[in-house]
Each structure stands twice: as C-alpha cells, then as structure tokens.
Symmetry: C2
Subunit: 239 residues, 2 copies
C-alpha cells in the first residue's frame, strides 16, 4: 500500500521577508518520514487571506494531510483560522471550548483575557482542537487540514499530539502537569520516569510567568492505565 | 511604484524527506528584501517532472521573477533544466557554450567529461547562462525564471550575478581568477583590495582539487574600467 501523502503550508510575512528563518518544514519533513507519510510539497505564503484560502484549497484537494504553521496568535495579522474556515467551507466564531481553555489560562496567570487574546478562540465549526501544552491557545484539525502554531516549540508539541492519530494506530492520549519549577530542576527525575515507561512519550516545555520559571510536563500514550500510573508517579515526584 | 514581485521554487526530494535542510529560501528572502523585491510565495517540490513543470508555469505567470534552486547536477534525478524548458515552451539540448565551459573545466582538472557531466550542459534554447565561479556548471535565465544550483555556496554565488540585473541598474560584469592557494592564504591582501574598490563586489570561493586547496576569486561590478584595474592588481597580488 502506498504511503499517505502530505503537504505543508507555512504562513507568514516574516519568513518571506527573511526576518525569521523557518525551521518547522525541516522538523515536519523528518517527523513525517519517520511516520511513513510522504511529504510531497511545501508552500510558504504571506499573511494574505486570499493566498491562504487558495493554498489550503489546492493542497487539501491534492493530498491526504495538510499541515499549516503560523498565523494563529492574537494580533491583527493572525488570520489563518478564518482563512482555513473559508477554504474548508466552515463557519467560524469564538468557540466555547476554546474560550473556556483560554479564560482558565489567563485567570490562572492573573492576566486580562482581552479581545485580542479572544481571537485565539476563533475555531471553525466542526474542527477538533489540538492541545497546546505550552501557551494553551489551541490548534485545530478540520477535514484533512491540521492548523498549528508557528513558534517552533509549540508547533513541535502540537505535531506530537496530531501525528500518532494519522498513522492508523490507536488514538493518542495526553495529560499534562504544570509546575512552577525550572526545567533543569526536574529534568533528572523526569528522565528517570521516562526511562521506566518506554511505551509512553514524555516531554517538558518550559515557560516564564512574571519572571518565574515554570514547566509544563506532558505525557502521551495510547494505554489509559499506563498513562494514569505515570501521571501519579509524576505528581509524587514534583510534589 | 510597487516593488517587483518574486517567487522561489526549491526542487529536491532531499528537502521534503528531511535529509537536507534548505537554507536557500532564507538567504534569498533576505537578499530580495535588501534589493527591494517582494518575495510573495515559495514552494518546495520533489524531483518530479510534472510537479516542476506545473509549479514553474504557475509561478512564472503570477510574479515578475522566479528563482529556482536544485536539480541541475549530473545525476539522473537532476531534471530541472528539462522541466523548466518544457514549462517555458523552449527546446533543450547540450548547448555549445555550456559544453565548451565544462570541457575546459574538466580538461584543466584532468578529469573525464563523461555523459553524466555533459548533462550539466543541457540548457534551453534562448536562455542566458548564469556564471558559476565555484564548479563551473552554469545556471540559466529563461524568460523570468532564474535556474540556480541547490548547493548553498553555489546558489549564493549565482544569485550575486543575477540580482543586480533585476533591479534596473546597469548590467553586472564579473571576472574570476582561479588560484591554487587556500582561501586563508590570500584573504588579507584580497580584503585590502576590496577595501580600495568599494564600488566593486569581491568574493572568494574555496575548492579542493585532488587534495589540493584552491580558490576562485570573483570580482563583480558595473564599470568595465574599474573591473579591469582591480583584476590587474589582483593578478599581481597572487602571482
């Protein structure tokens, strides 16, 4: 049986102007090769509604999976979600599930969940959210299009959630624990835990909140029992 | 007046499989921004004749300048020249000017100019050659499509020849001198020469031939008199 075929769409003026160097294409290319999915084309377009709509339509019709990066933040030029919705013929608005995730996140941080930040809850009807263990604002999958963040660390974390579901394996489950300790402080015990659970995938994603270092620890796997056992050990480790 | 618009087409399975990380897009993006040309789209396609033809046709019709990288070497998967010729409706064959350049190069190196290497002389009718100061095999410009090598050092050297001619300035002239000395040995006097000719652009491109180090020294500029004067000084310097 032939491998599934995929395309990537990188969205962002900053790549085409040379201000930022894209690294997500190379990361995705390697990850797809390991997963047995053939990346057959990549495109980079500007933050331009018509250009994004046209590219999503063309690529979505041509291949089995389209991965996009960029343009899902809080600023006026983050127009990916609306463009993808139009390309896929879906309505879009501030979705309750995404609003709730973000509201809880900003409440926890003592920050205002203002109109700009609420933009990140614009999710097309019918799309499935993609977990963002780093900065909460979700990506989404609609049809065969997987919409992810441009920041490499977030793109990579989102891809880790999406990819296992595409290769015909059991659905991937994930749980995360947010701790207000630096990554380096917990790296050793976390690494030992990962070694005891080779069937699970464990990742740590550092952040800085008001000058204090914290880390999101994410455990992913397909067996709910194993996942629960590992999370219980992890909670005890960092208590 | 609006800036000219450009697109890039990166050609190569090795980019899409993740074996090689493309760096030419970022380099071109920065160079075009400096030159006042807007890069509005980039695409990466595989070493696939139909995919290259389709992308060249679409991009060539959509923008003022198309820059391609990759697929102009001696192996069976180097199919860019033939695909671009078809896309632009040109005939292609082993062109005499390119054959002569390459024949002289391999004669000088004492290497056989075999059938594989002769592939690199396949140039569409009506195309203008782009100088390759590093490994001689030329790129070419046909219509608004500039076909360049994928190896970053060669891509960058070819771009340095092409770019000044696109921005409405006087045509860029170049002369090169090949010396069998390492780059580091001549860097200081060459740098001093460059400082005395701020109106010219000077570059050095190291190579290794049968274990011996050599360097191609290239001087580019628009004033033939200044170019000749600098070349005369350079010849004396490295004699």
């Amino acid at each position: 049986m032939a491998n599934p075929r995929a395309a990537m769409l990188v969205i962002g003026d900053e790549i085409l102007s040379g201000r930022t160097r894209d690294s997500n294409l190379h990361y995705l290319a390697q990850a797809l090769t390991r997963a047995g999915i053939d990346l057959v084309e990549a495109r980079v377009v500007a933050d331009d509604h018509a250009a994004i709509v046209a590219a999503v339509r063309t690529l979505s019709a041509a291949v089995d999976h389209v991965f996009t990066s960029g343009g899902i933040g809080p600023t006026h030029d983050d127009i990916t979600a609306d463009a993808v919705a139009e390309a896929m013929g879906a309505r879009i608005g501030h979705r309750a599930d995404a609003m709730a995730l973000l509201q809880a996140h900003y409440d926890r941080q003592g920050m205002e969940f203002n109109a700009a930040r609420q933009r990140m809850a614009r999710i097309p009807d019918g799309a499935a959210l993609i977990d963002n263990p780093i900065s909460v604002a979700p990506g989404f999958t609609i049809g065969n299009v997987h919409v992810m963040a441009g920041v490499p660390m977030i793109f990579e974390a989102m891809l880790a959630s999406v990819l296992p579901g595409l290769t015909g394996g059991a659905p991937l489950l994930s749980q995360s624990l947010r701790v207000m300790r630096g990554e380096g402080e917990i790296a050793t015990p976390f690494g030992e835990l990962a070694a005891r659970y080779p069937d699970l995938s464990m990742g740590s994603y550092p952040f800085n909140q008001n000058g204090a270092y914290g880390t999101n620890l994410v455990i992913r796997g397909t067996d709910p029992g194993r996942l629960a056992a590992a999370m219980q050990e992890l909670s005890a480790l960092v208590a």
